[in-house]
């Protein structure tokens, strides 16, 4: 593959990531849908991984429906300027984690985060945000 083709592929990937984020942002505005998805996955309490726009939007969408333990980010903080959301680091998570589901929100770094988390946490408890919003539910 030549340089231009490689660059083109990267552009396509960036475009797809942006449009996926946009779709997910929109999906999270649908309150009834969010309720339904939480029920489908039998989620009563959870952690949100990623303190960016998607993570905070997810928090806002569901924190009145279920117990959101915290938003986890490697820096232990949020990249969005909002108050009132408990943010913790990965190490903090490991100290208090008790088998809850973790929804991973960063799209670009999903694989890396999933690989890191799955070293210490049962993979079945890890969900990608897109999967939570529109993916299949294992019976």
């Amino acid at each position: 593959m030549n340089f231009e083709e490689e660059l083109f592929d990267l552009y396509v990937k960036d475009y797809r990531i942006e449009s996926s984020c946009y779709n997910m942002m929109g999906r999270m505005l649908e309150t009834e849908w969010m309720k339904e998805r939480l029920e489908l996955f039998h989620i009563q309490s959870l952690y949100i991984y990623g303190g960016g726009y998607l993570g905070v939007q997810l928090y806002n969408a569901i924190h009145t429906m279920v117990d959101v333990k915290a938003v986890v980010d490697k820096n232990g903080g949020l990249s969005v300027n909002v108050k009132g959301i408990r943010a913790i680091s990965f190490d903090d998570l490991m100290e208090e984690y008790a088998g809850e589901k973790i929804i991973i929100t960063p799209v670009k770094y999903y694989q890396r985060i999933k690989d890191d988390l799955s070293k210490r946490i049962d993979e079945k408890q890890l969900l990608f945000l897109g999967e939570f919003l529109e993916g299949m539910v294992e019976q």
Binding site: D9, K13, E131, G135, E138
Partner: protein
Amino acid sequence: MIYIILVDLFSKGYIGIKKKVFAQIKVFEKKFSPVYYTSHSGQMVYLMSDGKILEKELAITKQECNQWILEWIKKYGIQRTYIRYNMSDKWFIEFIKELKGKNVKSVLEFPTIPYDAEISNNRVRIEDQYYREQLAAYLEQCTTYLNCDTVFGIPCIPLINGVDLEEYPVHNIRKPDGTIVLIAVAAMSYWHGYERVIEGMADYYAKNGTVNIILRLVGEGTETDKYLQLTEKYQLQEHVELLGRIEGEKLNRLYDEADIAIGVLGLYKKNMTYATPIKSGDYCARGIPFVYGYDDGGFSGEESYVLKVSNDSQPINMKEIIDFYNQLKKHNFYVDDMRNYASQKYTWDIILEQVMEYYTE
């Protein structure tokens, strides 16, 4: 074997496609078990078999979907693929090139031909038109629901849409009560052309027609508002009922309360003359006579239980419908005829025979 389909096979919008895919898989399983299949939803691509998720991976781009599928083909030692066409792009071409390189025998199904008019996204259309010219270099067999020898240079096996008789309850013929009840069950898209029926009813009553004709539209879609407006415009509220989406037992009852079903009447809008829509097979399997307006791969138009009308924008002549109804009343055994015909013509085992032969060559 793997059935590759990159849509959300389990979403409500794909119920018809899911039914069809699983019916085809059932046939493939008879010779090539296990048959794996894919689904794509929430940016995840899934590999499934027998209703169970075997693998799932994040796949934001089509390229990533293809890469995961290629990995699974290798991991599970898969020799054959049946691919439901999802538009061409450079990654799809790379994908089928790779399959050919691995000596995986592939058949590509085009669900609709021609389809350009259905693609609203200009970029997708242009991209597809460019890359589809390369398909023939890597594929030796395709299928579609149109009677043609080749599609984009790929030798083609023409198919018709099959039905599973067990899924269709037998239509109970309604006792004549002076009313003719028509039913149209569809996603109400522009090519269904049901405005032709509404306009035909308007003509009929404007000329003082005396037979009470009821049209029940079941389903919702982009044309629903238009049908509603036409109903109001022609003051046909007593004759046209828009019932929205209805499924299961309730739908079965509605079929039993109807005399004639309405098939596709607007294919001319897609510049098509020939098709084998699932709808005709569905109606036939239920045993409810129906009206359609195109050349159907499953019917000649001469059958006593179908009424073939023109493939244009002309309002449907209600006198023809009334005559058709009166003809039907003369013999009530058409339900068995229709179901027998469906069992011979519309079973996927028969429809996919040539495809199975190709895989075993």
